[in-house]
C-alpha cells in the first residue's frame, strides 16, 4: 500500500490508476478536524495509493484533484478528457 510523500507523484499515479479502469477505481477522502489532518486514497481494490497531509496548502490541491476526477467520471467516453497535471 504505497504511501506517497510528494503530491506530484501521488497525483500522477492516481490518475493513471483511475484511467486504467474507471469503473473499478474509487477515491476516498478522510478529514479529521480534531487532529488537523487529511488523507486521500485512490484504489481499485488491487492497488492502493495513499497521500496524507496536515498542511493547509495541500487542501486546495486535493480538492482540485477530487474535482478533476469527478469531471472525468462524468464526462462521456466519446470526448477525450485529459487532466492538466502536466
Amino acid at each position: 500500500m504505497p504511501q506517497y510523500q510528494t503530491w506530484e507523484e501521488f497525483s500522477r499515479a492516481a490518475e493513471k490508476l483511475y484511467l486504467a479502469d474507471p469503473m473499478k477505481a474509487r477515491v476516498v477522502l478522510k478529514y479529521r478536524h480534531a487532529n488537523g489532518n487529511l488523507c486521500i486514497k485512490v484504489t481499485d481494490d488491487l492497488v492502493c495509493l495513499v497521500y496524507r497531509t496536515d498542511q493547509a496548502q495541500d487542501v486546495k490541491k486535493i480538492e482540485k484533484f477530487h474535482s478533476q476526477l469527478m469531471r472525468l467520471m462524468v464526462a462521456k467516453e466519446s470526448r477525450n478528457v485529459t487532466m492538466e497535471t502536466d
Partner: protein, 110 residues
C-alpha cells in the same frame, strides 16, 4: 444510506463537517457510476440494462450517519463549484507552512 438530491447532499455534508469539528472523521467517497439499480446476477442473462456513462456517486459519512448523491454531467458544473467551496471552507484545521512559504516566495521572486 440516504440518497439525496445534490443540493440537499451539500447541506447535509456541511452539517457532517460541523458535527465532527471537535472529534471524529468525515469520510468522502467518489466513484464512477453507471446507473445500475440491481446487482449483477451470477447466472442467467443480464436484463436489458443500459449502462450510462455520465454519472458519479458521492458518499459521505461520519462513521454513524451516511449520505449519498448521484451527480450527472448536467449538474456537475453547478455542483462542483458549491462542493469545492464547501471543502475549502470546512477543511481549514490544517497547519499553515509559514516558514517554508516565505522561503518559496523568496525563491520565486528571484
Amino acid at each position: 444510506m440516504v440518497l439525496l438530491e445534490s443540493e440537499q447532499f451539500l447541506t447535509e455534508l456541511t452539517r457532517l463537517f460541523q458535527k465532527c469539528r471537535t472529534s471524529g472523521s468525515v469520510f468522502i467517497t467518489l466513484k464512477k457510476y453507471d446507473g445500475r439499480t440491481r446487482s449483477i446476477p451470477k447466472k442467467g442473462s443480464v436484463e436489458g440494462f443500459e449502462p450510462s456513462d455520465n454519472k458519479c456517486l458521492l458518499r459521505a459519512t461520519d462513521g454513524k450517519k451516511k449520505i449519498s448523491t448521484v451527480v450527472s454531467s448536467k449538474e456537475v458544473n453547478k455542483f462542483q463549484m458549491a462542493y469545492s467551496n464547501l471543502l475549502r471552507a470546512n477543511m481549514d484545521g490544517l497547519k499553515k507552512r509559514d516558514k517554508k512559504n516565505k522561503n518559496k516566495k523568496a525563491k520565486t521572486a528571484q
